[in-house]
Amino acid sequence: MKKIVFWTIVLSTVFFPVGLLILQSVTAPGSWTELSVKGWTGLFGQRRLVEATLTSIVIGAFVVLLNIVIGMSAGKALALYRFRGKDLLDTLLLLPILLPLLAITFGVHVAMIRIGLTDTAAGVILIHLVPTIPYSIKIFRNGYVSLGGKILEQAEMLGATPWRTLVDIELPLLRAAIQSVLFLTFVISLSQYVITAIIGGGTVVTLAMVYFPFLESADTSLVAAFSLWFALLPLLFYLIAEGLMRLLPYQRKKRRRRHDLFY
């Protein structure tokens, strides 16, 4: 019975909408039966599609990387170290998601103009950190709380340097947290339209900027194809990152042997 309920929910909330989208992308607008590839040809006919896709991937990759570095450092400090003002810092780090993003962006915009970061990919990467970093810190903080400081001290007692502790113990054991941060922050970065437009000033063109104007289009096949393309990117990025994580030492899957201690 439980299985039936589970599959009903999964099918109706996940597979059914995606299935509809796929169907819509390969049929003519307004018809569910007349097959047509116009949606996809229209999508690939977009002049800036490849450029915008690559820009989104590069920006997303940097945002993910910075989130992992900053999130792990701050999350570790909040979970394992004792220092004065910890609770205050914890609250301050949440502020970016409590305040309206636009208000922050307008404020930061002026500062970015002064230091020449507007209209650059670096500026866009920085502004994408605002809506992502608080989540990453929370996720890594929980990860380090469940890991505990003792196991890291144990590695140190066995002679490990901080770097080796990170590579051999922290990264493999925080894999679930890294996966969550990776997927979440990439999707958030990919979806940013307004703040990218303000800081990127139209010079930095991401996929969202090409995609959003089409939402008003009457060509439902093209919009459906665009939506699927948009959804494929995080999946693709996730698979690549997952493959890279398999290269970490002491993984149980097939590839681990390469980094094994004794083989």
Partner: protein, 323 residues
């Protein structure tokens, strides 16, 4: 001549509060030193300072003549076995044991051979390819011990390593670990809050109270000749009469009437307790409650006299028998 392990005037403070002070002791190679004390006495912090996980605020620490006071944990010839086994869950048992050897520039084959050899010594050779979650609590602690011993540390620190095990297993492990340490000739410091465990494990026992050693000596000398009322209370089996005198419990008995040639204290029976199959009577005295070995089975509320031959009343020896 200096000793193999030498700690002098060690002190640890956290901002304004003092955790321990004036801690000095020395050990010879192969000695096992039990540090016993109540929770919160600072013994675990002392162990963390010896391990290098915390710095000493004052004092010096030498191992085999080398100063290690300012050497970081990963550079000290010291291993620490924590209360929990803390095996790395993503590594097999063999990888766990061999992990520390990767930092000692030992070749792969040698690493595997040495890890296997130590797993054999702790009776865990069948589990080389298992993961920690597949082992029982006692097996995990054996692997943790092998992981520390394989590094041939000059000093092994054990922080209540049996506290997470059940009573029967704990008793088995104590004997087994002591024999193993003696066989390997390992110098070790063993921290516990359990007096029985301290006596069983240590060649030398240090009673740690209020952030310093109240007494250090052989288990027998500390048990038989406590230096202070605190030591007599915590370690040994004594009835402390006042700040200067105590009586080993085995010399106390209960009588219903006064006898002229004995020292006697009036009291009221409060109940019975059984310890290792022996009946004890709990008696309320003016000086507080105490337990007396007695098989007569006095009923609760009976007025009795706690009695002792005068020659068994002892005075505290008031000296720290260091090392």
């Amino acid at each position: 001549m200096t000793s193999f392990i030498e700690v002098r005037q060690a002190e640890k403070r956290f901002s304004s509060s003092e955790v321990f002070t004036d801690v000095s002791f020395h050990l010879e190679e192969g000695d096992i030193f039990s540090i016993v004390g109540p929770s919160g006495s600072g013994k675990t912090t002392l162990l963390r300072c010896l391990a290098g996980l915390e710095p000493f605020s004052e004092g010096s620490f030498h191992i085999d003549g080398e100063p290690v006071t300012h050497v970081k944990a990963n550079g000290r010839p010291v291993s620490l076995v924590f209360q929990q086994p803390l095996l790395f869950p993503h590594m097999t048992v063999l990888e766990n044991v061999g992990y520390g050897l990767t930092f000692q520039k030992v070749g792969r084959k040698e690493r595997k051979a040495r890890a296997s050899q130590f797993l054999q010594r702790v009776g865990m050779e069948k589990y080389e390819k298992s993961y920690p979650h597949e082992l029982s609590g006692g097996q995990r602690q054996r692997v943790a011990l092998a992981r520390s011993l394989v590094l041939s540390p000059k000093l092994l620190l054990l922080d209540e390593p049996f506290s997470s095990l059940d009573k029967k297993l704990r008793e088995e492990m104590r004997e087994w670990v002591r024999n193993l340490l003696k066989q390997e000739g390992i110098t070790a410091i063993f921290v516990t809050h359990d007096q029985e465990e301290a006596v069983m494990m240590g060649d030398v026992v240090g009673v740690f109270k209020g952030g310093t050693f109240a007494q250090v000596g052989t288990p027998h000398s500390v048990y038989e000749h406590p230096a202070t009322p605190e030591v007599a209370h915590f370690f040994g089996d004594n009835w402390v009469i006042d700040e200067e005198r105590y009586i080993p419990r085995r010399y106390l008995s209960l009588l219903e009437e006064k006898r002229g040639n004995l020292r006697q204290w009036p009291g009221v029976v409060k109940g019975m307790r059984f310890l290792h199959g022996i009946a004890f009577t709990e008696v309320e005295l003016e000086e507080g409650r105490t337990m007396i070995y007695d098989s007569k089975g006095f009923r609760e509320g009976t007025e009795v006299f706690v009695t002792v031959e005068p020659e068994h009343i002892r005075t505290f020896c008031e000296k720290k028998d260091i090392g």
